[in-house]
Symmetry: C2
Subunit: 203 residues, 2 copies
DNA sequence: CCTTTAATAGCACGATCTTGCCAAAAAGAA
DNA sequence: TTCTTTTTGGCAAGATCGTGCTATTAAAGG
């Protein structure tokens, strides 16, 4: 038998190569050739593990969604352990929501890729499920956080669904601005805007 | 001499063909051939008026920015005429800000194109000035509106710069969500979120 | 009518892309 | 060592793209 390779690990490596190309050169520059070169593999190897171009795209998006999901599972657990009204709660909420913002290099890259894929998904039906999952995952987290606030009795009159939509839109908008018009808002300011919004919600 | 054609009018027509292709099939499907077909022209004609591919892209983006600018000039004028604290002011502010949201088909298409171009501009230096102008134009409008609120004395303690960033982010986020994940939020709900935000600002 | 010239149409070249297909390499199993 | 099978590498076909360049068309001015 030949050199033993873990297929899933290989696929993950290729997906990360896709991320690097998208983040650096844009989605338009992604091709089997550029990705293979970025991953240090032959084009044949990439196709062996990841299939056609469309399948590679789906794999990359899937990998992105999984990575984000995994990071959130950690925060979700911590949120469950922390009392709704406690002083550390606010800090934890800030940290969780800041996960959606491109404040460091890793999240910046992640957000840029997410934005590119979301744009592509609008006219590529194969990718829409991933956008959906990503969007619903974020909505779930935000809603759960706001639910905690209502339960703690600090903001009992909150329109939960509406405020979820509003906070989600704010987070998406901040991310979009940092990625596409970084000169308009600095990372520090991004966080300040989020804090201000949480203040008005009395969280 | 040949058939007389207004070059600027032709360029506008070609730009609109670009918009249709981007909105319908995505930016990846834009090429001199597809745009020429969409415009009902020969590829040679398109090149005659719009130059190379890169110039065509810049022209299309420029046309988009101009169109949005023009629509806003009207509102800006009306805003100046209306007293800061008057009852119709709130209505006017809502209408102006709703111009940033993809609530009807025209604005939906416009927003989809804007999003696609903004994404492309991240790795295409030729397009960044247009993103910048668009972003700054919106910021200017939002800031002026909020300034009016402060001057009217209803919200004197408002942190103008911060609230401008926050409202801009909200608008961008709403637009992004409607375009990329329409199942997450309906047009009516989008407007409800904007109204809620204006309520909290006491506008 | 005829000339002139903007406008239109399109060929052809080189580059890039995906994909079907096949051969070479490599390493555990016999 | 030899067989077997996964892994790897790559060729060639078919398609699409931008662009340089040329030819044709058509209408206003003489």
């Amino acid at each position: 038998m030949p050199k033993i390779v873990d297929p899933d690990e290989r696929r993950r490596e290729v997906a990360e190569a896709v991320f690097r190309v998208v983040a650096r050169d844009g989605l338009a520059q992604v091709s089997l050739r550029t990705v293979a070169a970025e991953a240090g593999l032959a084009i044949g190897s990439v196709r062996h593990y990841c299939g056609s171009y469309d399948e590679l795209m789906a794999l990359a998006f899937q990998t992105l969604v999984d990575a984000v999901d995994e990071r959130f599972a950690v925060h979700r657990g911590r949120l469950g352990e922390t009392a709704s009204g406690s002083p550390e709660r606010r800090r934890l909420v800030e940290d969780m929501l800041a996960e959606f913002l491109p404040l460091d290099e890793q999240r910046h890259r992640e957000t840029a890729v997410w934005l590119a894929f979301s744009g592509a998904a609008r006219t590529d039906g194969n990718l829409t499920p991933y956008v959906r999952r990503m969007s619903e995952g974020m909505r779930m987290v935000v809603r759960r956080i706001l639910e905690g606030c209502v339960r703690s009795g600090r903001t009992p009159e909150l329109d939960l669904a509406l405020e979820t939509d509003r906070l989600c839109a704010l987070l998406d908008g901040l991310a979009l601005t940092v990625i596409t018009a970084p000169s308009a808002i600095s990372p520090a300011r991004t966080l300040a805007v989020l804090r201000r919004h949480l203040d008005t919600l009395a969280i």
